[in-house]
Subunit: 201 residues, 2 copies
């Protein structure tokens, strides 16, 4: 049987979501690393697989491609304990994942991107994204009130999706000490069976 | 039976997705309009329902809340012809919806927001979001090559999600004449049974 092929970046939290879920589900991945700064080869390498030209892009063992980190992990986790069966719980998983792509990733990941590559951002961008990122973290902090995990008191792909960029927020200069619910939740996610760090291929 | 309550904005494409799907599925909505410029009452009105304080926020007829436009319409459409049953097709619906929230909405909707309210954007923001929006439209144009609809040659919630802000892109100054696949697809979406315009409550 062919392994699934993941077009990957080791620094991308979005790609980490896929590696983490596969590690926890015991699924093999063949990694194909793409540059996240020089993207000039993307049309040639993944143009036929993902019109948005982004990583992660997954190719299933039957050759069919799938794009978007959260769509990928939900597909892989369907029927496992990582994705609830109840329709309302599934809708709430998605709600957190859409929140993540709209309010967390564009702020925390973008600020981190400029920081870890030492690149100069357009004027005002880091300040604006930092403020918006803090507001997003405040929403996550409220969402975790009295909760051990985001959905149904149980670890799920919703936690994976939010963990990916929140646990490395410090690399973009965010200080999580004012977010006690978030900090305790990050520790619980990292204790789950099969957990791997973002640095692990 | 109680109707579902939608915390709504008539100018929001995200809220329009919910109104459109409910119109096409014959579901009643009680609309509760919120201001999208002055958001000061949001914590009081929807704070207990949606930690992100955004519209749309839906309250189901049993009182349970649900946030995020795409999560809401997928929940409502599950088991209907608007959401495929096949797991891979469902994953591709989600992939397009995550693309929409990451690449279409933050660009097309934000530029349109400043335009229709006559507000002054931070320096450079409209230019940056316009460029990124054009790249997103190019990805959508490629994704619609040889396709009548986004998924499985059949109208689905993926089309609803992308239609919401793309069909009003001109209000933000985007010119769709260079995107023939997109223009033809917009016309097909608007011809679907039960279609309502964004201006219809």
């Amino acid at each position: 049987m062919l392994a699934m092929r993941l077009y990957n970046s080791m620094v991308s939290g979005n790609c980490y979501k896929v590696r983490l879920v596969c590690a926890q589900l015991g699924l093999d991945l063949e990694l194909h690393e793409l540059d996240v700064v020089d993207r000039s080869n993307r049309p040639e390498v993944i143009g036929a697989l993902n019109p948005a030209l982004r990583v992660p892009t997954l190719v299933l063992d039957d050759g069919r491609p799938l794009a978007e980190s959260n769509a990928i992990i939900d597909f892989l986790a369907d029927g496992t304990p990582l994705l609830p069966d109840d329709p309302y719980d599934r809708a709430r998983v998605l709600a957190w994942q859409f929140f993540e792509q709209y309010e967390i990733e564009p702020n925390l990941a973008v600020v981190r991107f400029y920081a870890i590559f030492g690149l100069t951002a357009p004027p005002g961008l880091v300040e604006a994204r930092t403020s918006a990122g803090v507001r997003a973290l405040q929403a996550l902090e409220r969402g975790l009130d009295d909760r051990r995990f985001l959905i149904a008191d149980r670890y799920s792909v919703a936690d994976v999706s939010l963990y990916a960029y929140v646990h490395v927020a410090g690399e973009g200069g965010f200080d999580l000490t004012g977010f006690p619910n978030v900090e305790a939740w990050l520790a619980r996610v990292a204790e789950q069976p099969g957990h791997i760090p973002i640095t692990q291929a």
